[in-house]
Symmetry: D2
Subunit: 296 residues, 4 copies
């Protein structure tokens, strides 16, 4: 099918290439000349602007937005709202807050334009093996996108999961789960490393090769360790994205207990804490309380 793709960067570029390879007619655009050039070489028809992209598409159009969540996505959606016509469809494949999807769907819906939110997982590997895709929106609209969704997805890795917002919600929960999984491996690694004479990397390789804890993330972890087993070449400040935070907030709103997912998120906060106020307060308080813990 024909698809407009706004954003040909780290995620959008490989996705466009995968779609072209699968026989789709992809019209793309990107403000970065390099990204545009690379996609052109991969067989994407590149437009010089969003307006030009809309012109190049045959109505009823389908436009996939694959730019940074937040301001960048908002700006693209604003522009598309001006340009698209009744019967057109917009899919947001970025890591947007799912709570925005309903508003956006209403806004586009008022103009007769359909909106679908798609959670996209898979990273760099997705290009080769296919992505994991969860779509939210009206059944007919998701169905209309199915040809490109199927081409993008790894076998079996695509589904409509619910109404507007459900696609991004599932992706957000996925990322929160990912934090939990990675933190579990990281703590396991710390335990292995703390034992004298034990080579943590060797042990984790065995886990990945034949133990129950094997996974894609452990594979990546072992690969990361293999290049720098002492981890001297990396820092200690662990970044976190909006999706993990939104999930933690939603757990609070829903009253769902997520002790491990939330502990993993807070561990990342701690890793970036330079002021260490809580620790300092404890040291100071212990000093004042004084003798009471001295007979250990």
């Amino acid at each position: 099918m024909q698809l407009g793709l706004v954003g040909l960067g780290r995620m959008g570029g490989p996705m466009a290439a995968r779609l072209v390879k699968a026989g789709h007619d992809v019209v793309g655009t990107d403000t970065a000349p390099d990204a545009a050039a690379a996609s052109r070489q991969a067989g994407v028809r590149v437009a010089g602007s969003i307006a030009a992209l809309v012109d190049l598409l045959t109505p009823p159009r389908a436009v996939w937005v694959m730019v940074q969540a937040g301001a960048a996505t908002e700006a693209v959606l604003d522009e598309l709202a001006e340009l698209l016509e009744p019967g057109d469809l917009v899919a947001d494949g970025g890591n947007s807050d799912w709570r925005d999807a309903t508003t956006r769907a209403d806004r586009f819906g008022a103009r007769g334009v359909q909106f679908v939110d798609v959670g996209v997982s898979g990273g760099r590997q997705g290009w080769r093996h296919g992505y994991g895709l969860t779509a939210g929106g009206a059944p007919d609209d998701v169905e209309r996108l199915m040809p490109v969704l199927t081409s993008l997805a790894a076998p079996g890795a695509v589904a409509r999961v619910g109404e507007h917002g459900a696609g991004h919600f599932v992706k957000a929960v996925h990322n929160a789960v990912e934090y939990g999984l990675l933190q579990a491996y990281a703590e396991g690694f710390a335990m292995l490393s703390a034992r004298d004479g034990l080579d943590a990397l060797t042990a984790m390789r065995v886990w990945q090769a034949g133990c129950s804890a094997r996974s894609f993330l452990l594979e990546q972890t072992v690969e990361a360790l293999s290049g720098d087993p002492a981890l001297t070449g990396v820092g200690t400040a662990v970044a976190d994205s909006g999706m993990g935070r939104w999930t933690a907030e939603e757990a609070i709103r829903l009253g769902v207990a997520t002790p491990v997912l939330t502990a993993a998120l807070h561990a990342r906060f701690t890793s970036r804490d330079e002021q260490r106020r809580a620790d300092r307060l404890l040291v100071a308080a212990r000093g004042t309380i004084g003798g009471h813990e001295t007979h250990v």
Copy 2:
């Protein structure tokens, strides 16, 4: 090579069969007639007792113990200590506490018998695809076992990881990590289930088919859910094994922070808590403190 195998049950039976299939001469024994019979059919030479098994083996012998950790393993090792001769070797493949391995190695070493501790992971699937094996002990002793270790292991899934106890230690940490991983999935499932109109099973299938969170454990989880998506056929009391607890204790002893692994363990304790004393105390205390939270 020739191997004596004490224990032909849920773990030992399939392991014996895998070894026979790989061409090894396996002499086994088990107190359960059914287990013995099944292994005989699989090509294992079955002895009627541990003493008979020792007699059937050509010195220098190698005997693998694959019975329940704790009292059962202790009893078998006691018996072997009486029967084995200098030059023989004992491997403990059960989920024993790694802190026992040093004592056991010393005890056998005093009689000229070698001791190797092997952490074995893989469960029911290990029989077909191979196990994950981490061995602790003297390099020469582990090397001597390598033919059977290699036949048992999935490709690349075997290594000597350190001195006596290291093999079981790595398995213990592995299991603790597994608790963390499973808890992360369980909390993700709870979040997915809490959203109206979202089918959690469908979402988790996509995760497994193409998302970064895919893993052996998620595959098993999806399989479990597929048979009973509403989970009405299962209880709520989550068991835990010694290995997860020993790891949590060791983290405390070493002063290694493992917030997620430990939270996962405590979540299992909570799941089995029928008295709910902490919760009751909070309800009672809030009642006494009274009005102070009423203007919410």
Copy 3:
């Protein structure tokens, strides 16, 4: 000084009585006849409506709102916004979300009316011993309220802590800390109760009488236990208020690690979880993974 008080219920009633006793001229109103009658007996001038209350006050007026946070507070503030005049002042003493204070201050400010948010702690005991009060707003406005703030407060227990919203923010953090403190006692109680032959109540009485862990909350906890040491008369579902949740959300927004405060909140969620989806999933998954944890 003269103060209008909207809300003479569980919190507002005793506060009004304390103010009258301190010599202030309190004009109050409440939709519940009982509350109004009780306050009248305590010396409060009771008005039949908010409009009547505003009429009874001499400009420039000061009106304190002490009703349930959320819709009730919003409705009272709406009505006051219509009735008050430039130079008047409104204080919100309820457990409102501090994030609403700025909007409210702007809205009243546009009409020349000042707004102060006051976090009020102390519950039933506050009436006798005084409350803890943290005020947010312009220094002059807080100063103007100081006569009533001082009369309400326990010695030393009143301060302006910052701009609009700061008063409610400090109260919210206070309540989140309170959850953490109570959870610590509850877990300590569970530990004491788990030991054979140990009387937990006796031990906690000693703590309160002379140990470092003594506190107002422990005093209340011991009182609650004294009446029902086996806690058979209470349920297990621990409620939580908006303030604890808002603090947990703000920790996420600010990226401040609060592992204990957040764990205490999630423990309350767990206490109210009747579906037990996460636990059920773990039980089901363990069943499928099967034998792998059986050699414990």
Copy 4:
């Protein structure tokens, strides 16, 4: 009554003085000349050695050991076991592991000597206001010590809480609870500090003066902060004692969920973690997993 006191240091010295002041005949000893001299001035009869102390006491003797838990206590108990006679009584007031109390009681019991374990809380302040004391052992033996226990204790702050070990167990749980309480305040302080324009110390002073979160530990915390509000003069490595760890281990052994107490302990481990292996692993793994979280 007459009491022998081995250890006149930071804890034992003030306790001896308090006992003398209450009219008891205290015979003390300490290897440090300064400690001995200070106690002599306070009215303690100071012996030059444990043997001399035993000689000075009239049988049946009561000897209280107040030295560092672990090796120091063990050495004193060894010496006393040689010197004491049937009918004598030994009390261990140090922060000993409660799991040692049973063994010690048996050992002394075999010689006809009674053993009582006493958990002592109160620190520097205990000298003035009295300590909190929880005793474990036979009812008659605790009763025999009651005159000194009562003189040492704050009003109401003494009780026999169970058999051998119960006294130290209650103290251990107390200290674990204390970690939880302090961590809750520390996290609250971090939240208050993270808000622009808010003075955390002022807010915490109000909490202590009149809010539900007031406590001895908050009083100490506020005092610590008052001297150094920016906490520039203290480090970030928070120490922890054996008692908090033993409690966390026992929770695991008993299967009692203590998420907050354990999280507080692990937060201290994190505060002292200089290698940051878990954090580094996460940074490295995220780098390898690559693009997948970039579309935030």
